[in-house]
Symmetry: C3
Subunit: 384 residues, 3 copies
């Protein structure tokens, strides 16, 4: 059996319009945590061996400190580095051809934060496709996204504790991708393995705990794949329903952007390592819920399922003019914390926040770390 | 009724000595989260409309990435940007004339961290004035502050769950300001609306939960107003008193400073967005409680009410040589956590920490995130 | 009695090969939080007085903002600054002669994360030595370390609640050092005082609470001493044993490195203040447990005792393909939180994470703040 990765590489060489394009593609083909993923095992034994040898010569960590090169260089768990360094220190970005194609035509839409209804039975079939696509996140900004189902975040999944989730990922992108569900207890080497274009990976899991759990592409370097838009949330409701409420899902994500390429701003790996984001968003769009608020009625209980996918920072969730009657740090309905103004949801984590809407008004919900909140993580809850 | 904001603008033009002064004033006049505040509603319908039109053309987010301009530029929810960008990319700071006037004469004083006594009855009247003033925070450093009651932080407020707090803010500053109490459950569009110079806003609230809750100016851009000193704390004691203790209030705040103007260093909005502070303080002054420690007796229980107003970072609160018998993540006395060395109070949040002083000695209390602790968030608790 | 510090200073001048070397030594001799440590009290009354006078003229905080100088300058609680500033703004680093000597010969070894067994009796004698030494943390990287017992982190200490720990630190380094155990409730001015080369300090404590507690050098500037490698962990098990488990200790630490000096990269104080690390490690070595994983059996309960020594950042601890059945935010077995994907351990803090290994596989454990995880805070748990 031949090495499909090698094959892909020549294809890419042939199809890549620019050297930068090539570099970002070539580097993204790496699957860098060898023991952490089954990187192409089912079809690419040669690829697997290459990953191992890359691991053997891994730590080139002695680069000059303080320079941007060193920040980039010491991402030593990824062949992304070597590919890029060979190419002359060019930064890797998400700017593949597909990610920016027809950027001008990309239409803005509000990401619906409403928790979708539960499935009628105890089984849920979810089939996602990974693809590169330009995403318009505001009137004036299109990003070169790597996506699940063509949006950032991917779709909200909703099920109960103990339901069976039958998941399939089909990769429609040149770049290897994978799917890591934080709600699944499963061998990631097999289930979360990367697949190349045209391939699929399937697995089944039964969520054991209630909560909002992140999902994301786990292909190395994970920072690049989360940072380029490959994330979303699954909400697992407890079998004994929580009190009736209007339920919303807010996934905070950071944007680290490079200069516009073909009408879209790519996500920039080197900048991600700096940890100073350009934008911080709820559900992928800066300030989208200022523009088009969430709406509930006086007397409603509101339940926010809040996740932060990072890639780096927490969401200090707060609702102006309100206090949370209950915050669940772990699986609801366990260990409720009462009377909270602000709690930090860590990157890679999720928490459940509840409040009672006693009075009408317009209540901004924010990341109260305002250095980030001011970069787009503000929305409005209208109580009518 | 004419537009008082427009009127103010010409006044400012006439009175501003420098173009920089003008820019910072003009920008600060913005009230940028249109739905999030009742920005001048009672007196300025035109102002309100202008806020809406600003919102409509909001996201100019396509600026070059990585540059300081872009960090500044993409604060797209504020007319601060457009004002400043029109003015040629000058950074906005707190350096108004009043904020730096007579800076050399500003006297240092220790901020008393002692929790003030409870009011005798069930009603508490609080009347704050917002004003610009130079604040000496150490022998060699005066900052150009935007303040409540002429100090950073503003005064500590103390009441019980269920007490009635009758609050009035009178604005004595050229810049619109407002007051957001995290202890209030109330429509922020009305209660937390901005007022211009000479105007007042009043509202009444009954705190529902015990804890330490931040208060701050909520006028947009909120980052600028919190970051320039407009914050403080209200401590709400439970109706059933907690065990007798020596009670202290520590409010952590970050300082992002520009170069000295007229003897005072202004707070710098662009630098706030970088999230790398110059100083991190307890109650507004770097290392003030090293210089003049807190003092208790052997056998005392000490209760620290710790808030972080940020604007960005948590306070990893720790007492050297001690452990917290109890930390309340939510409203005391609910869900106590026992035996804690360090817990992170998120920006925009507050927690209650208790310890028993079994032995005499000198116990430093610190932000154990020492990259910040070392910038001024260290004090001493002397147990005699 | 003469001033031993003054004596040391001339020695250092004589022995220092380079001016940079001198500066880093001279500055490191400072003991800057006067009231926070008994800095040389037992042997150096003059030294103590000097510390006091340094305190009196402390706040030189008015430096130009935004420059690296100012970041450095406003570490106003330390004579490190003045020493270095006098020397012409050179940054202070850990690059003493001993710390880099024979760097090429330093051998890499895996840091064993296994929790060591409990002592047989109720008393535990621990004698640590502080010394400078080159530490090879990967094939290509040697750091100029300041250490306890010649390694980063220092050895894991393990005892029960109520056991008696008899601790002695002997300083074998030119630089004053001290030991701060977060598990001790004791007067830090006496117990955590600094000692100079050849001196020892001893104290005894009985841990009151279960948990993983940081230990670290508390000599000012604390940021420099923690940041240069002087940290480790003590695990205090409850007297009533927790359920049987495979127990591991993971201490997250950040590396802020300067350019190579004599074959070793020193830790850089100025860079620490920037809070953007070069590497983030579990137990001192980037990605060491990818290279040599942790191994358990199907059916095992695994208990991770996770600390973050920072100096600045939390560890958002997560295990890929697993969920934590239990996280103890405080002292186990108190207040367990159930069903958690990720929780943030603050810098200066520690938490206990438990999971049941139901299925075989390879489970990466990560800091899910991937801007940091990608810098080395990733390992593998193999379940066989």
């Amino acid at each position: 059996m031949s090495n499909p990765e090698a094959g892909r590489l020549s294809e890419i060489l042939a199809r890549s319009a620019t050297r930068r394009d090539f570099l970002s593609r070539a580097s993204a083909l790496s699957l860098a945590i060898p023991a952490a993923s089954a990187a192409l095992t089912s079809c690419a034994p040669n690829g697997e061996q290459r990953a191992d040898s890359a691991a053997a010569k891994r730590p080139p960590a002695g680069a000059a400190a303080g320079s941007e090169d060193s920040l980039f260089h010491h991402n030593s768990d990824s062949r992304l580095d070597s590919a890029v360094l060979k190419g002359g220190h060019a930064p890797a970005t998400s700017a593949t051809r597909e990610a920016a194609e027809h950027a001008a035509a990309a239409k803005y839409h509000r990401y619906d934060p409403t928790l979708p209804p539960l499935p009628s039975g105890n089984r849920l079939q979810v089939h996602f496709h990974s693809r590169e696509a330009p995403i318009r996140v505001s009137d004036d900004l299109v990003v070169a996204g790597w996506t699940f189902e063509g949006d950032i975040p991917g779709p909200i999944v909703h099920c109960r504790v103990g339901d069976t989730v039958e998941f399939t990922l089909t990769n429609e992108s040149d770049i290897p991708h994978s799917m890591d569900f934080h709600a699944a207890q499963i061998d990631p080497k097999v289930a979360f393995r990367s697949v190349v274009e045209g391939q699929s990976v399937s697995y089944t899991f039964k969520p054991k705990w209630a909560g909002i759990f992140m999902y994301h592409c786990g292909t190395a370097p994970v920072l690049m794949h989360i940072g380029s838009g490959m994330y979303g949330a699954i909400v697992v409701s407890p079998r004994e329903p929580l009190p009736a409420a209007k339920e919303f899902v807010l996934v905070q994500g950071e944007y680290y952007l490079g200069e516009t390429v073909n009408g879209a701003r790519p996500f920039d790996y080197q900048k991600m390592l700096s940890t100073v984001p350009d934008f911080v968003t709820f559900n992928g769009r800066p300030n989208q819920y200022i523009r088009e608020p969430l709406r509930v009625k006086v007397g409603d209980r509101v339940r926010f399922w809040v996740g932060s996918v990072g890639p780096q920072h927490p969401c200090n969730f707060h609702v102006v003019g309100e206090q949370f009657d209950t915050v669940y740090l772990g699986a609801p309905p366990g260990t409720p914390i009462r009377g909270v103004q602000t709690f930090a949801v860590p990157a890679g984590g999720g928490m459940c926040f509840e409040l009672l809407c006693d009075v009408s008004g317009e209540f901004p919900f924010v990341n109260h770390a305002f250095g980030h909140g001011q970069k787009g993580a503000i929305g409005i809850l209208v109580v009518e």
